[in-house]
Point group: C2
């Protein structure tokens, strides 16, 4: 049975209030009694019960992080940023991993009301309007990372600009036949893929290149799916000379396809990814670096500010992106 504050008080011949004051570094304790109490704490190997403290103060000293199941490297990288930013603070991190839309909804429902955490960080899970309203009206501040809703604070990446950036770069290299291979655009789950595609279309249009629907390949976010889709693209009568993959994992699938079909990269085919995961570096893949780590750090920053202030007006913060040119892109064969 661990010692309680009462045990310490009795042992030191003081009241529990005094012990509490010592615990919380309240200056109005004489040095003498302070020492007495500290000695008692040591003798009894006393450690305050955080749960009791939480109930009493109303603060949990905990930040809840809700994110999709850790399969994608990009989630991990963001989480790492969160972790790091939290390390210097007094807050612990409690992790809620979402494995299905139903579970996501359940978390959103629950968390907004029960004071399990003093603040909530939601990563890569855009809430629906009604959920966002609940979250906004709840007692705990909420910050979205890699997701957006007008009523909430968010840290995000301009995916439209990213899509443009990639496409413009390819056009500038001389490519005209540029395919887009990404997730299903229609999924309501996360719109970033749609935005990247939008940027792609805008850049094409501005360059006077007609968008060709046969250059759009949609599929699940898996290497093998991407490989299959890339093979289809490359088997077209008039195949693309460059493929813009919606994420690095898909770009890797494209590289697989090219290798298997004997198509040389970057000579005969330019491939470009999106994300900047570690694998991209290993594979010398040209990509758009998203600074995922920083997005986690910034998310925490925003949350901590919201915890301080009483006015959590919805703020937006953009993380800049950056084109990283590596070895999988080159001018077309002419």
């Amino acid at each position: 049975m661990p010692a309680t504050i009462r045990d310490v008080a009795k042992y030191a011949n003081v009241g529990v209030g005094t012990v509490s004051r010592v615990l919380n570094n309240n200056p109005s304790v004489s040095d003498e009694t302070r020492l007495k109490v500290l000695a008692a704490i040591k003798d009894l190997d006393y450690h305050p019960n955080p749960i009791a403290r939480q109930l009493s103060t109303g603060r949990t000293l905990t930040i809840g992080v809700i994110l999709p199941y850790l399969t994608m490297p990009s989630y991990v990288e963001r989480l790492r940023g969160v972790q790091r930013a939290l390390a210097g603070t007094e807050y612990d991190l409690i992790l809620f991993s979402v494995e299905s839309p139903a579970q996501r909804d359940a978390f959103f429902e629950d968390i907004s009301r029960s004071p399990r955490a003093d603040g909530i960080l939601i990563i890569s899970l855009p809430p629906e309007d009604q959920q966002a309203r609940r979250l906004a009206n709840s007692q705990v501040p909420v910050v979205l990372v890699d997701a957006y809703h007008p009523e909430l604070c968010s840290v995000l990446i301009d995916d439209i600009q990213g899509g443009r950036m990639i496409t413009e770069y390819l056009i500038q290299l001389g490519h005209q036949k540029i395919a887009f291979l990404g997730d299903y655009l229609e999924t309501p789950f996360h719109p970033s893929m749609r935005y990247r595609f939008q940027g792609y279309q805008e850049a094409l249009q501005e360059a006077g290149i007609t968008y060709s629907p046969e250059y759009l390949a949609e599929g699940t976010n898996e290497r093998s799916t991407a490989r299959r889709l890339a093979k289809q693209l490359l088997s077209l009568e008039n195949p693309p000379t460059a493929i813009f993959a919606g994420c690095d994992t898909q770009a890797i699938g494209v590289l697989d396809a090219a290798r298997e079909m004997g198509i040389r990269v970057p000579e005969a085919l330019s491939v470009i990814g999106y994300d900047g995961i570690r694998d991209a570096e290993y594979l010398n893949l040209t990509t758009v670096e998203q600074h995922l780590f920083d997005s986690g750090v910034e998310g925490v920053q925003l949350l901590l500010e919201a915890l301080d202030q009483t006015i959590p007006e919805p703020r937006k913060k953009y993380i800049p992106i950056e084109l990283v040119v590596r070895g999988t892109t080159a001018p077309p064969l002419a």
Copy 2:
């Protein structure tokens, strides 16, 4: 101000005890009052306060996970297993990320006594004797994953056997000049590298091959360091025909070195890693698969059992390893 159990009781014209019983599915409540209470709960949008419940019951419904900062993919993979195994249970996961030995010690100290969590999972952080004793004597059950101490439950991998397995395989392919490139062996932090090296030495000895110290390269666990060390090994007067890298990341550095030096893999050099991270698959790297995910799952399993039983006798569970032969190993050139 969120509604409390008292509000609900008042609203439904019952005692708080009854509301509590409804909340906890206590059968001794008449259907009539139950419905009345449920209606009140709904009307007031009441959600029980988990903190108060925790203080009252003494259970936090939380599992604490202590692990090194999430830089290495292997930690993430193990965490993912933990996550998954916990998903079906009533437990949440609170994450303590260790960024320094001092912080590790602090966590070990603190956590063993304060009931922040009902159980603790420690990943890849072997405790010292004194710490282990404290942990073993504390109220909360503790399970080590990828770490061992006689006084505690643990889930581990037989690294000696892994080192042997790799070395025997290379010998069987016909290699005689086998180098070992790994972390500094003398670090007291985590001994797995030492064990792998030990397996390597044992296998050499059993095959009658004399161990040559110049075939040992030690360095930090980074791709670039490994590349540098590999270059040194390959520049020896009598260079190895095979390199056993202590982990996949280091193996990737070795591949870098070979590429830069124009040494063909696997024809002129066999390279083998350890871990089975995703990158290994991308790069077609022969490696020892550790089933990292499973180690997390098993750790949770052990912990949940310990939470049920009152007798937490220290148990050990080995996760089998598996040699995955891919494209970076072949017989030597003869």
